[in-house]
Subunit: 631 residues, 2 copies
């Protein structure tokens, strides 16, 4: 097998620090080298032809995406967990799952939904035990990922959530009362000034029993949220439904598709029209309307009328423009240069190209359509490299099609000529994502295709099949798209974002700049119990291998709050406070404090234990909760 060290021929003028033995040129933490993977060709016999000069990169060499033990990946990929309600963090190109981040689900290993704070966050946003996460979108500054936050939607319950990328944990959830299904999720670029939740399901407003069977009175909204604090600002109402969304690059336009301009309630009604919309929201104009008080308040939220007949849309600067695109479009995304919004036809074999600046110039928004390329059957979503190519998933054809964007603008409407290549995928792809595709700086090397079906690709595991996330190397235009890995995934990774590893600065302990908590012995008075009537507060500082108390005595019926702090200073040493038969498991990372409150309603001896394997005496790290019977 030949080892290959692919260089990106577009960027041979860039300096490289990668002059190490290519076999060991994997990227250490924080020392990012673009596409500098130490790789071996998968077609090993073919490659093993004595071609040992590894400075050469034979054209057409496969890139196998291997990451040797102990070496780091080049990228983080954030994959939504779909109706699992979580987000998964992968390394790319290894496709190893590095972490799960619970968002709308409850998850005991991280104690998410178990401690008082996260439980309250879930309670206050509706009290649901699941969500449907489709779109994980990282925050950007100057159209580049800034490593601050990841925003995700809940299609099941009309919510948006924010994940803190320093701690890799969900830190805010906002309920959007005028949305039932929040589908698209994206922030306003270039600087994440607002975060948008895109409402898919048309419902009465408010949805309190009025207009039950009068679909003409239903509507959808686009909701705007301040990124920090994560507060709901305003909604714009439209008559049609809304679907996926993406932002322009200059802070003006936000785009969504609409597949149900018919305002139908059955499948046949929803698919009856030949065209639907890309809906373009002029965000500054909407903000002006809010500022001017031109809204109705619904469920406490200012709702601006953005429907087609709204007087606000008859101004010289309409709030919302409706662009016709062929039927039931699904994905819409903006090219890295910010020039075009590209929508996929889903039930039509084309992608439609809208020139964004023309939306400010034309009277008829359909005049902003500058291209339409025939890509194949069931086009859903489009991602980008940095060489002017678009990659579109074809759900029906089970393919990804690579095409040339400018060629499509220059070609006749409906031409197939801009298509460069089609590659089979396995099977029925939904989203796809290229590295930093939806920023101003796509990396152009790795592409993940999220296939909804895996069929025969993996060992059988019963009637629930894994999905199949396939990794392609797309950095070599001459060789074409190269399938590198099949990755089974628990249903359903819906969409993803791939972020260069050096964009993030995760903390490995809580308050890393301020390591305050040092050794506190179990007998120290920092550990204390306070009682106020039948309310008991327990303060405990824990370290290897003991809890702050070896016994805690309470009475049946007491409401007990335990405030538990992990005083470790060393990263990766976690503790939990698990109470058998009391449904309690609260994790604390080093220097972290969490509280948990429960009613001591069962008398007896309950062995508090640490569910993280923290030391050789982990099993012996225990404390007794003694619940004295009431009678």
């Amino acid at each position: 097998m030949t080892t290959s060290n692919p260089t990106d021929d577009r960027r041979t003028d860039e300096p490289t620090t990668d002059d190490r033995d290519p076999l060991f040129a994997r990227i250490p933490r924080r020392d990012f080298v673009k596409a500098g993977a130490a790789v071996g060709a998968m077609s090993s016999l073919a490659g093993c032809t004595g071609l040992l000069d590894t400075d050469e990169t034979p054209s057409g060499a496969d890139v196998d995406g291997s990451v040797p033990p102990g070496e780091h990946d080049d990228y983080y990929a954030f994959l939504s967990g779909g109706h699992s309600g979580d987000v998964r963090v992968y390394g790319v190109p290894s496709m190893r799952q590095l972490m799960r981040i619970p968002v709308f689900n409850i998850e005991s290993a991280r104690g998410y939904g178990f401690d008082d704070e996260t439980r309250a966050m879930l309670e206050e946003s509706g009290g649901y035990t699941w969500g449907d996460v489709h779109h994980p979108r990282p925050s950007q500054t100057d159209n580049t990922y800034d490593g601050e936050w990841l925003f995700v939607n809940d299609k099941a319950n009309g919510r948006m959530a924010r994940i803190d990328l320093e701690y890799f944990e969900t830190d805010a959830i906002v309920d959007l009362p005028n949305q039932q299904g929040t589908h698209g999720a994206c922030a306003l670029m270039p600087d994440t000034r607002l975060v948008f939740g895109v409402g898919e399901f048309r419902v009465p407003m408010p949805n309190d029993g009025r207009d039950l069977d009068d679909p003409g009175a239903y509507g959808s909204v686009l909701s705007a949220i301040d990124p920090d604090p994560f507060n709901h600002q305003w909604d714009v109402k439209v008559d049609c439904n809304l679907d996926n969304g993406d932002s322009g690059k200059d802070g003006t336009w936000f785009f969504t598709t609409s597949y149900n301009t018919e305002e139908g309630v059955t499948e046949s009604e929803m698919t009856s029209a030949d065209t639907d919309y890309v809906v373009a929201f002029n965000v500054p104009a909407i903000e002006d309307a809010v500022e001017a008080g031109e809204y109705e308040e619904v469920n406490g939220v200012p709702v601006v009328d953005g429907t087609e007949d709204s007087p606000l849309n008859r101004n010289s600067e309409p709030l919302v423009r409706y662009v016709d695109v062929p039927t039931n479009p699904h994905g819409v995304s903006v090219t890295p240069d910010g020039r075009y919004a590209i929508a996929s036809g889903k039930l039509d074999p084309t992608c439609t190209i809208i020139e964004i600046d023309r939306l400010d110039e034309v009277d008829d928004p359909n005049d902003a359509v500058v291209g339409r390329v025939n890509v194949g059957n069931g086009p859903l979503h489009t991602a980008y490299d940095d060489r002017g190519h678009a990659y579109t998933t074809l759900f029906v054809d089970s393919q990804v099609v690579k095409w040339d964007i400018e060629a499509a603008v220059e070609a006749e409407m409906g031409s197939e000529d801009p298509v460069i290549e089609k590659h089979d995928v396995h099977y029925s792809p939904g989203h796809l994502i290229a590295a930093e595709s939806y920023t101003g700086d796509p990396q152009g090397d790795w592409l993940i295709v999220l296939n909804k079906l895996s069929k025969d690709r993996f060992l059988p595991v019963g009637p629930v099949f894994p999905e199949n996330d396939q990794l392609f190397y797309i950095g070599d235009d001459e060789a074409g798209m190269q399938l590198v890995k099949d990755t089974p995934a628990y249903p359903e990774p819906h969409d993803a974002s791939i972020v260069r590893a050096d964009r993030l600065e995760p903390a490995s302990v809580y308050d890393p700049d301020d390591l305050e908590l040092e050794f506190i012995s179990a007998s120290d008075e920092d550990n204390f119990v306070e009682r106020d009537g039948d309310r008991v507060h327990v303060e405990m500082y824990n370290t290897r291998n003991h809890f702050g108390f070896s016994d805690i005595a309470v009475s049946e019926g007491d409401e007990v709050t335990i405030r538990t702090t992990n005083i470790e200073q060393e990263e990766d040493i976690l503790h939990s406070l698990a109470i058998p038969q009391y449904d309690v498991n609260v994790k604390t990372a080093p220097q972290e404090t969490r509280e948990v409150t429960f009613t001591a309603d069962k008398p007896g001896v309950y062995w508090i234990y640490c569910a993280y394997f923290c030391s050789a005496l982990h099993l012996e790290m225990r404390s007794r909760l003694l619940v004295e019977p009431a009678d």
Copy 2:
């Protein structure tokens, strides 16, 4: 790079069907060839020396564990999810996660804990929302995995669960009322006649508030469960605590460790004695005692007295024998030939070898100890190959030590001479598992070491670190243990079992031999609604791309049961029935029926949707739940 096709030199006399091009010699489904991986050396430059005769297996060649896209793994690995409460299914050697199986957690993508049946199973076994799964043990017939079931424990709440390996789903949970922390889990071999839950936490019996602070009155039990139906049969009580467990091979003895023979309640008390026990349970003798009525009933369970002073232990055939082993032992496992039980010292650098047959012969059970090998610091668990080697994790040294079992029996007590090799792992290993290690037929090729800490091995993901499951190739004694992969894992994979792929016959649809449900149109009368007072029953048959009803009208306050059936006949086409803001998501695989019951307590329009991306018109597959206001 040279491709290598390692053969197992112990078994060259075995027939092989693997005469294909070794590059494409991956194992298709059900056509298992032992260790027949198409592999490439990781040290590719070193291997690329023109050695293209791939029938040869150069000694010392690495085995990289790669599985090309579309090819299948050779093994299933079942990894416990620890305090996540789930089980994960991996492919080996790819180490790709193929599936998660929720057990004690609730999990929306599979609708586990959402439909009436699984919700009732969780409710009736305590109503907890988490568990702590440590030991996934497949059923065996004739000391060989039979692909029927996987049994797991819940350390948090004293429960055992059974997973059906045809459907890869949890189908039974039993609450063990006299156990608080069920730690060890294993079945009685050779034929899985009983399943055991091993009680770790000493508590009063019953634990109802009596003897709260009288640890001398506490005790632990070993619980026996009928595998099918999954019913609790009896307990044996001991004074000490119990920990891990494993079965002998001939249906007589079941072994557990005890690290707290001191009967202490603090860490220092639990570690004060120089020796603790391997506790050996004579299962037929215990069954005779149960049969003879020699038990006390506690919480409705027959509890046999197996304490050291029990009259039943003074018989010629004691029920329980207590073997001294050095301090705070942790793992105990039986060698593939059924000859020895080997216990790890944890706080002592030795493994102790007990010759099982001698337990029937000796008056003093300590006379059954036939060897003690000095392996290193913090020995926890021991796995086996088929060449007489033991592999023991050293938690403190962060190593795995390979040693020779018979050499250890022949060596002086406490000798290091039987040690063959030590290999660093990263870091702090808990369990390890070799392929089919705990059967009569270990495969001797792959070993997974489950490290509790990963520290610097992966891209940083915040204060909760992944654990690190490392894959070793152990099939080449001359080359020694070869580290192949680092695999990050969500906390905490605690233990695993590795099963040859051809042992399982998973179903890909429900009732695969009896595909009854064919196309039912949305207007068919098989779909119906029945009302009885304020109880509404909805029967719906669903297929691409519609539900059985496009509208369901109910009144506020109705108790609604929806019985939903997926009538697809094609595998991998799942549907769910998701109801926004009603916390409902019920999945149905092809030919599966599930019921969900909820109270329609919120008036309005709620769009029932399918959360599995089932077709190009998936988004349009919807139905309206219309909840008429009560007033």
